[in-house]
Symmetry: C2
Subunit: 295 residues, 2 copies
């Protein structure tokens, strides 16, 4: 296991411990919704987003507790989006990370509510003094996560993705869809630590460029895996995009051009973080890891 894979596994473990403490089961019968929240949030997922937050945080000198709680808020937000995206009215997925999706394991109503409450909890975590002693920093974190999550971010992107099921999107629309759907939250994962300490505008711009490169790279490699991957290893249903006639980077560019774009995005990401020098080694390794990932 590479140093990066070890750190990803450690991030997953420490996130699960924190999420466990943030999701205590109440006594009342409404505990069903908390069980559903825990089922999806405490997971075997890659934890790429909190990993990025922790890694950038270490590089910039953000306190560990601050970075961990930002990471947990991102995981809560991301988990809500996965639960809602899997719903029958959306992507209608039955398998996620090798397990039944939330609405299959529980039911549709509970899954909708679990997603809703996970989103509330993400903001509750960020607003708490335990996340950062300075309230101005906390409100900035809340603002930026809300913006990344909402109509001009993740939700806007999911809307475009759904429109893409019945309408042909062109390349610029696919890029816009990705920038909103997955890019906005990845931007927040990379940028949030920079909001908690003194940083130069050059550093923030470098992190923004890095997050854009990694976001696009992640989507393109996802589209490639949807065509080339193996359902058992991926733990989710594959080939769904082409089956649904969804416009993807692969369907528009073809497999070879998509792969070549992935390589040049990796280069672009590496160039962006060069201003941090050796301190950004782990961020650099992450790009290569995503480029070469099998699952």
């Amino acid at each position: 296991m590479s140093k990066l894979e070890t750190k990803l596994a450690e991030t997953r473990q420490v996130m699960n411990e924190l999420l466990d403490s943030l999701l205590p089961l109440p006594n009342g019968r409404e505990k069903r919704v908390v069980e559903a929240m825990r089922y999806s949030a405490i997971s075997t997922g890659k934890a790429l987003r909190p990993f990025l937050t922790l890694t950038v945080g270490e590089m910039l000198g953000t306190s560990t507790q601050t970075a961990l709680r930002i990471g947990a808020a991102i995981e809560l937000l991301h988990t809500y989006s996965l639960i809602h995206d899997d719903l029958p009215a959306m992507d209608n997925d039955t398998l996620r990370r090798g397990r039944p999706t939330n609405h299959i394991q529980f039911d549709e109503a509970t899954a909708i509510l679990a997603g809703d409450a996970l989103q509330s909890l993400a903001f509750e975590v960020l607003a708490s003094p335990e996340t950062h002693p300075d309230a101005t920093v906390r409100t900035r974190l809340v603002s930026e996560l809300a913006r990344s999550a909402g109509m001009n971010g993740m939700v806007g992107g999911q809307m475009l993705d759904l429109i893409g099921e019945t309408t042909v999107l062109d390349l610029s629309e696919i890029e816009r869809m990705q920038a909103l759907k997955t890019g906005a939250l990845l931007w927040f994962a990379c940028m949030a630590p920079a909001l908690t300490v003194q940083t130069s505008s050059e550093e923030r711009e470098a992190l923004a460029q890095y997050s854009r490169a990694i976001g696009l790279l992640f989507q393109i490699t996802d589209d490639i895996l949807d065509v080339e991957g193996d359902t058992t290893a991926m733990g989710k249903t594959l080939g769904k995009d082409s089956e649904a006639h969804k416009s993807t980077f692969v369907s528009i560019l073809g497999l070879n051009k998509a792969k070549s774009l992935a390589r040049s995005l990796t280069e672009r990401g590496l160039a962006a973080i060069s201003i941090f020098g050796k301190r950004a080694d782990m961020l650099a390794e992450t790009l290569t890891f995503i480029l070469e990932r099998k699952r």
Copy 2:
């Protein structure tokens, strides 16, 4: 039209203007989700919650802009909950305020996304410096709204409500369901202005008691209207609770005891706010208005 009804109508209008400015249509095709958000948020609803925030805010000396933006955040949050509660997997309602529900007017996926983005926007509004100059106040508002909305508040209550469709809830569980489902957000509507200015613990306790009384009163009169009301005047489908064999205050207590409880709750609410003297006249009138409402 009474002074209170005039003020309710004015609140609705000023809320709609503010919500209109908070929900600009983007250029991209994802504007569909913003159209859906606007369809439900900019409405003819009673605006009871922002009315309470504005009224308590005036009484305590909260600035108008602060109270208006808190009111808008509550309306955004409340609207998201209505859209999601109306979904086929939840209450499966097709009519709301005399118009097709969001998922009927648009589609299920768009309605889920519109609700999700309305929730994000509520927190974005509260975290903005335009809401209050003091960041500590803003993080407190975010924390308390998140708590009121989430698993230990509104969502927990909706979960209990759904469980009550297949299980018989007793009176204490019905009360708990109401306290979570509608009580938590009403608590926030009454309490939020007190978080923005200096208030005594007696004043905050009085507001908390008032909000509990008004919350229970609202639910009981709702249950009574579901049995006695008129679909056309209400603008929503009635008789659904008894049809769904849902446990309600009326089904457990009977109509007469429910009406007598409503009267004693009105007295309890009036007693709670007596410490504010004449300044609380409008809050007192609101209790009577809810007790006697026809729709």
